[in-house]
Each structure stands twice: as structure tokens, then as C-alpha cells.
């Protein structure tokens, strides 16, 4: 062995310290397992901190009409019925308790007048459902879980990147990681492993994700042979900042619209009234007056009787509407739309949306209490990911679990705002619980193939010894621009084909990047290592998008602009690395939904007559 590495042994190794990872760690330690949490950045800095609006759970504190059944229905409808209904059911039923227990761990959500956890309106949710704290709910979540977690005995390996998962006799046996700070190398042996690595949106030039969102979790699972589902479905959040250029993509919470924010085009028209899809027509206001009635009751803290404003349509609809307005030449000054909350009193805006107020004030020199914001779509979330057992969260590889954004199933073709925070709590908990349970049944740590370790070590150190190649930052920049252009919010067959070719060219460039420097905290080296994962997940996305010849949720094809309920509306894509080493795409159906759950859905949406 040319390079030293340290070997660690833990019952459960959790990769990722965002909401799902920490929630899994809390549950696994509670079950008595020894737990290691490995994360790319420092504890408490994970991408979950960026979540703003809230966590959806049918607590019915704010509107007593709410129930898990309605939440289930909303989630399925928002996901255009491509969701794993079993996960949607578990999520709707269990998320209220996941929120309640957070409060006992120290979370301080905003209160109702009765002193209970307050709930906010969000796109696609029939009732006010999002537990929140101003517009910094993600921070509250991660801090709460962090503070709970550090007292449970989990061990945290901060600023480590996992490069590879090991399989021994078909079962996951551990992972390889390197320490980003000192460049040391580590092998973690684990009885079970939980992937909680979040998403992939850093593959697009305009995104709301941080550098962490390079999708290594998705790639690790794919490389080890797990089935990946729904990779064509990427959510473009309708409201990201668009000006100045350096902040392009930073999220503007949906909470702005939940609090009465209005979208207008360059002509001052509230264009969302023109984009209400058929399936939502009964539920949304068709006049400004009715929309205003709804907002007024929200401001007055009353239960609204009017229908909600069309700004609160699901994210896919709003994002595409802003895009269409731009295509029609009615874009705002810098190519987006105007979002205006300044009609509400200054104090209320500052109280309800303090983060947004500061973000615009400090980054764009815009006072949102006085002038409108400029917003545009930004790559925000990937619905696709590791296919898991809906109850245990185990992937198709025994011993490998996945939870949160890296897993797929709950959100179908489009995620509702607020469902991701409750997703990671609900399924993070289940993943931790079942991973610990399974680990308890495993006698001993499996041996890991030394040759495989050696190969991974070599790959990991390779960029440092390369010379004269490109700066990895440049390759990443070009890749992101390519994805934005060819696999963006609106897709076309020929562009997707081009993208697949381009990705092969990027692979060649990736192989010869040379970051220079040493192993000590070398961002160039780290970036050089990330590109491989980015290329593979970009390819998964393009491949699945090319196959799906329809438009649905987070996947829109200019050449197939309408949904095809009969065929595509019933099947989900699956990608797997086949034995020949190729990316293989197929399509499968979830088991038929049970009758009692089916009754909760809108019969009109199901299009069964077409079968």
C-alpha cells in the first residue's frame, strides 16, 4: 500500500449532515447503534439551512379542516401522480409528529394566537400547513437537530468527502472518504449506510444550491449499482434572484407569495391569472378582487373563504409562466418577473420575511418594503434519486439506505414547497431506525477488498499529480452552462442528444484537470474530484429526459408540450449501472394504489377513462 489510510468501524455510517442525515443519526443512536456522520462542510452548515418557507405537516393548528388525507391528496396532485403513494401516505401521516417533537428539542416555531405552532400558506397546499420561523425555517431545523444530535453520542466527521461505496458479497460494507482539511484518507466499515447527501442542482448555472450540491450521493449510489428513479424531474423554483449577476439563483422564498406577494410582468399585468391549469381551475381565484380577499383574510389571521391567488400555484406552473412571459417579450428589466410585497406595511414585511428583506437590501440594494423584487426561475430541487423501500428506506442494494433529497418517490414529478423539510424529517427518521435495526442483525463488519481501496486511493490523489491541464473551475463552469442551456427548464429532443454527446467530451476534460497545490484544504483538488459525479448525474438527467416524451411537473419538452396521461402518466423511469458498465434506462410502475387512498384523490385527474 503506497498511501496510509485510517480505518473506522461504526454500526451505522450516515453520509450527509443535513436534516435527513441528522434526523437519521438521532434515531440510530437512540436505537443503540454506534453512529458516524460524515459531511462535506461543517456541522450545522449543510444545505438545509437554506430552506426558508417552512415544513409542511397537517397539524391543523391554523385551519382545523386540514388532515393527513388532504395533505396526501395535495402531495399526489402536486406530483402529478407519479409519486410513490405509499411514501406519500407515510409522509402525510407521520410528519405532524416529526414537527411536534422538534419543538421539544428546542425549535421555536412562530405561534398561533392560541400559543401553538403557526402554519403558513404555500403553493399547492390546500390549507395553511407550513410550520415556520420567519423565513429561516431551515436554519431552525438544522440547529435543532444539531443540538439534539451532539448529545446523543453520534460522531461527526466534518469536512470529509465520501468518494466510494464498497460492496462485499452484494451487501454494502462501507465507504471511502478523504478529509478535506488535511487530505488524510479514511475507510469506514459499516454494517449499514445511510445516504443523506441532498441534491444535484449545482449542475445548472442558475441554481439555488451551494457548492455542496454536486450530487455525489446520487453518483455513489449509482456507481455501487443501486436503482435511480425519476432523474428527469428537476424542480426549477420560480423565484430566484436574478440581479446582480453574482447573486443569480439565490432563492426568494415562496413565503413571499404566501404572504401576498404579486407577480407582474413588464406591462404591470398580474399574468398568473392567465396560467391556471385545468386541474387547478376550481381552486384558484379568477379575479384580482377574489385573490385580494384571500390575502386580506390571511393578513387578518382569519380562515379565508375566497379562493387563493394564482401566484400560489405549484412551482412548476409558476416557473413556466415566468419563462413564457419572458419568451413573449414581457420580461422585467433583467429578464425575469416582478414580485411585489411592498404593498404590505413595512413592519409586517420585516417581521414575516426578515431574511428576504436583508438579502435584497444587502445583496441587491433593493428595499422590498418599498419596491418590487426581480425574480426568475432557478434550479432548486431534484425529485429523482435513489429508489427506496417506502417503509425501510433501503435501496436496491442491501445495507444501503437513502433519505431526503437523494431518495426518490415522495414527490413524483414535482415537489410541493414545504414538503422537503417534512420529507427529510419523516424519512430521515425511518432510515435511521431501520438502518440501526438492520445493523443490529449483522454479526460482524465485512472485509473490504484491499485492491478496491487501493484503486480508490489512486483515483483520489490522481489530480494532484497531473500537470498542465485545465483549471477544474473552468470545466465545472462550462458544464453548468451546458446543462442550463440544453437540459434546463424547457427541453428539446435534439438538445438533449447534444447534451449527452457534450457530457462525453466533459469526461475527457475532467480526466486531465490539474488543480495544483497540496492535499491541505485545496479547493481546486476538491473540485477536480467532484466533476466525475456531476457528469454522471447530468447524464442520468438528460437520458431520462430524452426518453420521457411528454411534459409533466418538473420536466417540460418543447417538442412534446402536453402531458400524456395514458402512457407516461403511469410510469416512472429507472436508471441502473448495468454489468457492462453502461447506463441503462427502463420504466416501471408503482403497485396499484389501494381503494381507500384512491378515494382521496380527484377522480378527474386520474384519467382512468383513457386506459
Amino acid at each position: 500500500m503506497s498511501e496510509d489510510y485510517t480505518t473506522h468501524e461504526y454500526d451505522v455510517v450516515i453520509i450527509g449532515a443535513g436534516g435527513a442525515g441528522l434526523r437519521a443519526a438521532i434515531e440510530a443512536t437512540r436505537a443503540g447503534a454506534s453512529v458516524a456522520v460524515i459531511c462535506k462542510s461543517m456541522l450545522g452548515k449543510a444545505h438545509t439551512v437554506m430552506a426558508e418557507g417552512g415544513a409542511a405537516a397537517a397539524l391543523a393548528n391554523k385551519d382545523p379542516r386540514d388532515s393527513w388525507q388532504t395533505h396526501f391528496r395535495d402531495t399526489m396532485k402536486g406530483g402529478k401522480y407519479l409519486n410513490d403513494w405509499r411514501m406519500a401516505e407515510i409522509h402525510a401521516k407521520e410528519s405532524p409528529d416529526r414537527i411536534r417533537e422538534l419543538e421539544q428539542w428546542g425549535a421555536i416555531f412562530d405561534r398561533t394566537p392560541d400559543g401553538l405552532t403557526n402554519q403558513r400558506n404555500f403553493g399547492g397546499h390546500t390549507y395553511p400547513r407550513l410550520a415556520h420561523i420567519g423565513d429561516a425555517t431551515g436554519l431552525e431545523l438544522i440547529r435543532t437537530l444539531q443540538e439534539r444530535g451532539i448529545h446523543t453520542g453520534m460522531e461527526v466527521f466534518m469536512e470529509y468527502t465520501v468518494r466510494h461505496l464498497f460492496k462485499t458479497d452484494g451487501r454494502l460494507s462501507g465507504c471511502f472518504a478523504y478529509n478535506r482539511v488535511d487530505g488524510s484518507l479514511h475507510v469506514f466499515k459499516a454494517k449499514t449506510t445511510v445516504l443523506a447527501t441532498g441534491g444535484i442542482t449545482r449542475c445548472w448555472a442558475v441554481c439555488s444550491g451551494s457548492w455542496e450540491y454536486t450530487g455525489e450521493g446520487h453518483a455513489l449510489a449509482y456507481w455501487v449499482g443501486a436503482e435511480m428513479g425519476d432523474m428527469e424531474f428537476v424542480q426549477f423554483h420560480p423565484t430566484g434572484m436574478i440581479w446582480p449577476p453574482s447573486v443569480r439563483g439565490i432563492l426568494v422564498t415562496e413565503g413571499v407569495r404566501g404572504e401576498g406577494g404579486m407577480l407582474t410582468n413588464s406591462e404591470g399585468e398580474r399574468f398568473m391569472f392567465n396560467y391556471v391549469p385545468e386541474m387547478y381551475r376550481d381552486e384558484f381565484a379568477d379575479t384580482k378582487d377574489e385573490a385580494m380577499d384571500w390575502v386580506n383574510s390571511i393578513v387578518a389571521d382569519e380562515t379565508p373563504t375566497a379562493r387563493r391567488p394564482p401566484e400560489l400555484l405549484t412551482r412548476d406552473v409558476v416557473a413556466k409562466a415566468i419563462n413564457s412571459e419572458k419568451e413573449a417579450g414581457r420580461a422585467s428589466k433583467h429578464g425575469g418577473a416582478y414580485l411585489n410585497i411592498s404593498w404590505r406595511p413595512e413592519e409586517q414585511v420585516k417581521k414575516k420575511l426578515p431574511g428576504m428583506y436583508h438579502q435584497f437590501k444587502e445583496l441587491a440594494a433593493v428595499d422590498i418594503t418599498k419596491e418590487p423584487m426581480e425574480v426568475g426561475p432557478t434550479a432548486h430541487y431534484v425529485m429523482g434519486g435513489v429508489k427506496v423501500n417506502p417503509i425501510t428506506q433501503e435501496s436496491t442494494i442491501p445495507g444501503l439506505y437513502a433519505a431526503g433529497e437523494v431518495a426518490t418517490g415522495l414527490h413524483g414529478a414535482n415537489r410541493l414547497g414545504g414538503n422537503s423539510l417534512s420529507d427529510l424529517l419523516t424519512f430521515g427518521k425511518l432510515a435511521g431506525q431501520y438502518a440501526a435495526e438492520a445493523a443490529a442483525g449483522v454479526e460482524d463488519f465485512a472485509d473490504i477488498d484491499a485492491i478496491e481501496i487501493e484503486r480508490v486511493v489512486e483515483e483520489t490523489l490522481a489530480p494532484l499529480s497531473r500537470e498542465g491541464g485545465e483549471n477544474p473551475a473552468k470545466v465545472v463552469e462550462d458544464l453548468r452552462n451546458m446543462m442550463q442551456e440544453k437540459v434546463g427548464i424547457i427541453r428539446q429532443g435534439h438538445q438533449l442528444l447534444e447534451a449527452l454527446d457534450d457530457l462525453e467530451a466533459f469526461r475527457k476534460r475532467e480526466e486531465v484537470t490539474s488543480p495544483g497545490g497540496t492535499r491541505i484544504y485545496n479547493p481546486g483538488w476538491h473540485q477536480a474530484l467532484e466533476i466525475g459525479a456531476m457528469i454522471d448525474i447530468s447524464k442520468m438527467c438528460a437520458l431520462a429526459a430524452l426518453a420521457r416524451e411528454e411534459s409533466r411537473g418538473g420536466h417540460t419538452r418543447l417538442d412534446f408540450p402536453t402531458p400524456n396521461h395514458k402512457h407516461w402518466g403511469k410510469i416512472n423511469s429507472v436508471i441502473v449501472l448495468n454489468t457492462a458498465g453502461d447506463m441503462e434506462l427502463s420504466h416501471v410502475k408503482y403497485p396499484p394504489i389501494t381503494d381507500n387512498l384512491k378515494e382521496l384523490l380527484d377522480a378527474d385527474d386520474l384519467h382512468e377513462e383513457e386506459e
Binding site: G115, G468, G469, N471, S514, P515, G516, G517, G524
Partner: protein, 302 residues
């Protein structure tokens, strides 16, 4: 380009390039020693101005206090010179300088032992307001910075290597609350002084400029006192529960009120000090022939 780091020389500052040699190995923290910092703003302005302001105030108050003492340095100015400058008297009304209120003259008419008769009335009265301000959380910041350089300004090197903060001798700062109790007692006393300035012989009422000065002084001191951190704690901040059966409790409302003043505590602290000194100066100027000021009657008073 290749990826060995290419260190470029700045285009904008080349004429200063010799000031700091490049490539020299330097340890971090590189800034050790008094006044060293990377800050580019005028960080020394604030503490210097504060030292100047507080210095003048302290010197003035001390001088005025001693002026009325039977003390040899001040014999030519003070009480022994035969003229008192503590209060403007007119037709039975008193505009009493706040530095001397409540007026307890240590002499044969008081309960004071003879050994203390030389004291100025200000000197034992001033202990309380001076103590209140001296232990005030705002003034502590101001003088730790301005006088003790502990620190002079944020991220600026200090002259001291040892530090005990308020754990050593300065643990006495925790007595702030007692001075608060005294300061609260002063408010009715000073209000009474306002009343005295309006009562004239034969039960007549009147308002002079001096009355308004004293009134302003009471208002300023009240604003300063209500925003006191100890006051804010005592009225409601010490509680974690603020909700009663019928909504927010009185303690919450008091806390909220105190919070409003507390957010402007700095301003109340600095301006109220100025007003106290001005009130005293006004009385002094109206009673000392050297200035020749008169306390104008605005209404009544005859």
C-alpha cells in the same frame, strides 16, 4: 494558463509597493501591540470623542462639587467667598441645581458631625448618580474603551496583556442594581425640585426658564433610568412567562416599555448627562455675577 499560482502585482497601488515587502514570511496574528489593526476606517475617532466628552463632564462636575466645599483650593470661589451658587432664589421659589439635590447642607443645622461640615452638599449626594452612571452597562463600554483602552476599538490591538474583565476587582459592577434603586428614588426628589421652582411667596405659581430646565432634566433622567438594563430585568426581563389568562402580563408590558428606552440607552445616557450639567451650569450662571444671567420668568411668579 498553467496552474502554478501566478501572483500578480496590483496595478492600482504600485507606487506603494515598497511599503510592505512581499514574500516575507510573517506570523499571524500579525497585529500585536497597542493600536495595531488592519482597519482602514477612523476607528480612533469614537473613543477619542468619548474621552473628550466624558472628561469634560467629569472635570466640570468635580469642579462644581468642590466649588461649594469649604476646601482651601476653592476658597476663593466657593462658599467661603460668601456667595452660594447652588440655587436661584426668587420670591421664595428655588431653582435648585440637580448636582446639589436633595439639598442637605452639612452644617450646624444638619445631623452631620462637625468633621464633615467642610463638605460640599454635592459631594455625598453625587455618589449616587455618579455610581449609577459609573456602573451603567452603557457607560462601562464607553469608558472601558475611551479611558482604559480595554479595548480601544474592535479588532484594534490593546496595550495590556493581562485581563480579568469584570471577574476581579470590577465584580463591583454588579452593584449597578443598588444604584438603580437610588436613581429611582431621585426621580420624585427631582420632580419635587420642579415643584419648588414653581411655588412662589403667598402660594403663587410661576414658571421660569429654570423650571423648564429642571423639568427637562427630570424627563431626561427618567428616560435614562427606564431604559437601564437592570430596570429592564427587574420589571419583566427576569421572567420567561409573559402570558396571563387575558393576554400579555403587566410585566411584559413594562419590559416592552423599558426595551423601547433601552434600545436608545446610549442616547439617553449621553444627552441626560449633558442636560444635568447644563441645568447646573444654568443655575451657576444665573447666580454668579461673573456671568450676569437672569432666570427669566415666563409666566406668573409674582
Amino acid at each position: 494558463m498553467g496552474f502554478t499560482a501566478k501572483y500578480m502585482v496590483g496595478r492600482h497601488w504600485t507606487k506603494n509597493a515598497g511599503l510592505r515587502r512581499m514574500g516575507e514570511k510573517i506570523p499571524l496574528p500579525m497585529k500585536k501591540g497597542f493600536g495595531t489593526t488592519d482597519r482602514v476606517d477612523a476607528w480612533w475617532k469614537g473613543p477619542s470623542a468619548m474621552a473628550f466628552y466624558l472628561g469634560i463632564m467629569v472635570v466640570y462636575a468635580t469642579w462644581r462639587g468642590f466649588m461649594e466645599a469649604d476646601f482651601w483650593i476653592f476658597a476663593d470661589f466657593g462658599r467661603s467667598a460668601g456667595e452660594q451658587t447652588m440655587a436661584i432664589e426668587s420670591n421664595g421659589s428655588h431653582v435648585l441645581s440637580p448636582l446639589f439635590s436633595p439639598l442637605i447642607v452639612p452644617d450646624e443645622h444638619s445631623w452631620m458631625p462637625e468633621a464633615l461640615w467642610w463638605l460640599s452638599p454635592a459631594m455625598f449626594i453625587l455618589i449616587f448618580p455618579a455610581g449609577f452612571r459609573g456602573t451603567c452597562y452603557y457607560y462601562r463600554k464607553a469608558y472601558y474603551r475611551a479611558f482604559f483602552q480595554n479595548p480601544t476599538a474592535c479588532a484594534v490591538g490593546k496595550p495590556w496583556n493581562e485581563y480579568k474583565g469584570e471577574t476581579g476587582l470590577l465584580i463591583v459592577q454588579n452593584l449597578h442594581r443598588y444604584f438603580l434603586y437610588a436613581a429611582i428614588a431621585y426621580l420624585p426628589i427631582l420632580s419635587f425640585d420642579v415643584y419648588l421652582s414653581m411655588r412662589f411667596e403667598g402660594g403663587n405659581w410661576g414658571i421660569s426658564v429654570g423650571t423648564l430646565v429642571l423639568l427637562l432634566n427630570v424627563i431626561m433622567l427618567a428616560g435614562y433610568t427606564f431604559g437601564c438594563h437592570a430596570f429592564r430585568h427587574l420589571v419583566g426581563g427576569g421572567a420567561n412567562h409573559w402570558t396571563g389568562k387575558s393576554g400579555p402580563t403587566l410585566r411584559y408590558r413594562m419590559w416592552k416599555m423599558s426595551t423601547w428606552f433601552n434600545e436608545r440607552h446610549k442616547e439617553w445616557a449621553l444627552y441626560s448627562l449633558l442636560v444635568v450639567m447644563f441645568a447646573d451650569f444654568y443655575v451657576y450662571a444665573c447666580t454668579d455675577a461673573m456671568f450676569g444671567w437672569t432666570d427669566y420668568m415666563l409666566w406668573g411668579g409674582i
